[in-house]
Assembly symmetry: C2
Homo-oligomer: 504 residues x 2
């Protein structure tokens, strides 16, 4: 039996359509084009698109109008950028070969345990962009809700580390910290980096953007400085200043994580296994050796009971050990937001006021940053146990931390002041009494509806804290937005959720 095994390739001329799609790569072809008919392509198909020596997988949208002629092909802006293709260049398309890792995905959906090789295949398909949003969502869901055991989480973490670049440092000790989030405004990281770098430790901090919150550290720092640095640029900044505050995505550390995070965001989901793998893979890939992880615990924080916090602590430390990291987990008070600002620019104001030792600076944010910096100084072995916080305080109050912060920002390319959004609305108390509870999740949602983090100066400035004696008509918070539509949208939500503050 002889079969022609040459893979049939078809050629089409690229036309710029300027369509910015969602996550997925999209390829556009005319319904009457010879490729669609001779190759049997139709909408719903995923195909491989080649340009020179590169290729991507894209979903086909079929064009029934004259925006493309029959010998032309279009790409979504994202896909065109990946291929680096120019108008009138020739592209080739081909049926998509079966994606082997999908059999592992199906096994996971059916509750089977996967080993390192299986996770490695899946993560490598994801890194290459071979999964559609449907596949990505299925993978996230199949791994959520306690469906991965600790060995699987460790294997997933290792697979994620191996899938991207890995930074190497000449220093023996590289420190890092991470907060698992859930507490609006809890933006200690930039302060901690400034303090420990001022002490002489190396802290090449890479952060995520927000997953389900109104701001991630990368979103916040982007208001003040450049956070999209290449790994060469990160190396240079850290060599010079001992620290950095950058987004992990452009550095190509654990690239599958950035793809998965977009889908988790769409699902408003942040599952345990993915959370651990996401955090620890970024840390290990960034070359860290000693990591403090902060788990805020409270009734409306991400972690709501001590059993869950202890389980996460155990998992983080065990998986950390498996991937060669010394991890210390601290469980902190997660009953209310930290600082006053919620949203990138508003949180940046808080950070600067703490670093500048202003008397108006939020005490809670300052104290948490000092505690975490102290833990890191102690974990590194550089500072005697029990002395960490005191030394951190000296570094902050002497102005050395601010000096280091400014120097790092300048090394990253700029140091600019944050700005407030144009549209705002003050929300006042409707009665007097003691503030007994704040619903963190609904407050975060209010900030998100106002536009944060996509609109960096949107968000909330919170003036009330647990235990405060509130008077009727006293200011509780101000909502900031960059457009009137978003402001109204957030305020409509607040109207239906007034019990996010319990005053009694």
């Amino acid at each position: 039996m002889k079969i022609n095994t040459t893979q049939h390739l078809s050629h089409l001329k690229y036309k710029y359509l300027g369509i910015h799609t969602q996550n997925e790569n999209v390829v556009y072809m005319h319904k009457d084009c010879h490729v669609c008919s001779s190759e049997g392509f139709e909408a719903l198909t995923r195909i491989r698109v080649f340009y020179k020596s590169q290729s991507i997988v894209a979903s086909l949208n079929v064009i029934n109008s004259s925006i493309l002629s029959i010998d032309e092909i279009g790409l979504s802006d994202e896909a065109a950028k990946k291929l680096n293709v120019l108008e009138n260049d020739t592209l080739r398309v081909r049926h998509l070969e079966p994606i082997e890792s999908l059999s592992h995905l199906r096994a996971k959906i059916y509750n089977q345990k996967l080993n390192y090789d299986a996770y490695s295949n899946i993560i490598s398909s994801i890194s290459m962009g071979d999964y559609s949003n449907v596949h990505l969502s299925a993978f996230i869901t199949a791994c959520a809700g306690d469906r991965m055991d600790i060995h699987e989480i460790a294997d997933l973490t290792k697979a994620m580390i191996a899938s991207g670049k890995q930074l190497k440092w000449k220093q023996e000790i590289i420190v890092d910290k991470h907060c698992i989030g859930g507490l609006p405004g809890n933006r200690t990281t930039p302060i901690v980096v400034a303090i420990v770098a001022a002490h002489g430790l190396t802290m090449p901090k890479t952060s995520s953007r927000a997953i389900t919150s109104p701001a991630g550290t990368a979103d916040t720092m982007e208001v003040i400085t450049n956070v999209n640095l290449s790994s060469a640029e990160i190396q240079q900044v850290v060599l010079q200043e001992g620290g950095c505050f950058v987004w992990g995505g452009t550095a190509q550390l654990s690239p599958a994580d950035d793809v998965l995070i977009k889908i988790e965001k769409a699902l408003d989901l942040d599952s345990e296994g993915q959370l651990i793998a996401s955090v620890l893979s970024k840390k290990a890939a960034a070359g860290s050796t000693h990591v403090v992880i902060d788990i805020p615990l409270g009734p409306t924080a991400k972690v709501r009971n001590i059993e869950m916090a202890e389980k996460l602590k155990n998992y983080m430390e065990t998986v950390g050990h498996a991937v060669g990291l010394k991890v210390k987990v601290v469980i902190t008070d997660g009953n209310q937001p930290v600082g006053e600002g919620i949203g990138p620019a508003l949180e940046a104001f808080d950070i600067l006021s703490v670093l500048e030792n202003k008397t108006s600076a939020p005490h809670d944010l300052k104290n948490r940053a000092l505690f975490l910096a102290g833990e890191l100084l102690e974990l590194s072995g550089e500072v005697e146990s029990g002395k960490g916080t005191e030394i951190a305080k000296q570094l902050l109050e002497s102005g050395k931390a601010m000096e280091k912060f400014t120097a790092i920002c300048k090394a990253q390319g700029k140091f600019v002041q944050p700005e407030l959004a144009l549209y705002k609305h003050e929300i006042k108390a409707e009665k007097s009494g003691t503030l007994k509870a704040i619903d963190n999740r609904r407050l975060a949602k209010l900030a998100k509806l106002s536009g944060a983090p996509q609109s960096p100066s949107a968000g909330i400035l919170l003036k009330a804290h647990l235990g405060d004696q509130i008077q009727e008509e006293e200011l509780l918070l101000t909502v900031y937005a960059e457009s009137n539509g978003e402001l109204n949208y957030a305020l409509n939500y607040y109207q239906s959720q007034k019990d996010m503050f319990s005053i009694g």
Copy 2:
């Protein structure tokens, strides 16, 4: 505190772009349009689009080129069709209000049991098109792998029935049958409908298109007659002939099912709970009272062990009872394909040769159809227990079944003969011996790669059966395709999977 609660609506002029997308509704707006900037819309956003009194939810793609001007708006063809909008009509857009049922979806992802109200909310969001592919995929995955108990499956089934139209019949007994699939070529349904309708029973058969197989009954019957009938048209055909063979989708029976099936197809997944809810909701919504369900059991069929088959049998019968159906489940031999054809047109040839009592007609297909028709005749109470198969045989061999089949097809609008595809390749045995096993799943995949069911005349004509003495160079099968690209693609797959036939 007073807040402006009027929902802001923005107006844009509709321009036809002719983009046929995947499942999701897509809306296109220029990046500089006043709505994008004043409302804070950006790519990744899901928004609500209004036209007259109707609205849909769509994902935003932002246009950076001149294919849209700043006061124009485009829609994917699917979305434009739903809104029935014409060029230059005015559309309004608004931020998407939070979708409440997503909290139930998240609860299910975290392994919580959901009640009827929760499933009902989710199914109604899905029917309205409010879920993105990411949400749909998460729902399917969260319900797969034994994550629904029998009460949940019953509640999901009821929710799916209630979400669409429900057909009513004046006859007391309405029979139906369904095969859960997994066995290529097993296309007994049209023969069974013809036999029981010839007997005088009422069998308003609605079928799915293929989920993960090379052909569904609707795909196969579409080669011979019209299967896209409105519910009024279905009523008319059944009133006249006592039976029909239609696609369930256009009849608006359990509409969420059709949305979910597309995503299951993309995942190549057909999970237990969704399977039961899908089958029984369609049956109940179609007004059936007595249903025979065929579960083929075999090492490479969909159901591979007797425990799984018994469990499905129990679930089907229990959930059937809960929704008011008398269900009989029969477990049949699922060791090899049935008939010779695999793919819509090729299976249609087999059906016609059985109905026409040709001596060349596949015996296995004929015998299964007679057995199932007999079971239905007995379940209905119209025929004495033990006599069903014999009476079915008389109806078939007398030509009454073929007469009824032709009459139903004509009532559905046409009766045409199937045609063979233009491109074909014969695959011959490489050695002599006994045919010991056929891998159904890989054979089905081969047929799918050849283009079935999208290309209706593509597929496989299988000439070898288990136990056959095969000679070297003897014909095993012929692969048919509608394009050379698809033929090569299928043959490349076969080259790498030669052990789908075990000859020894």
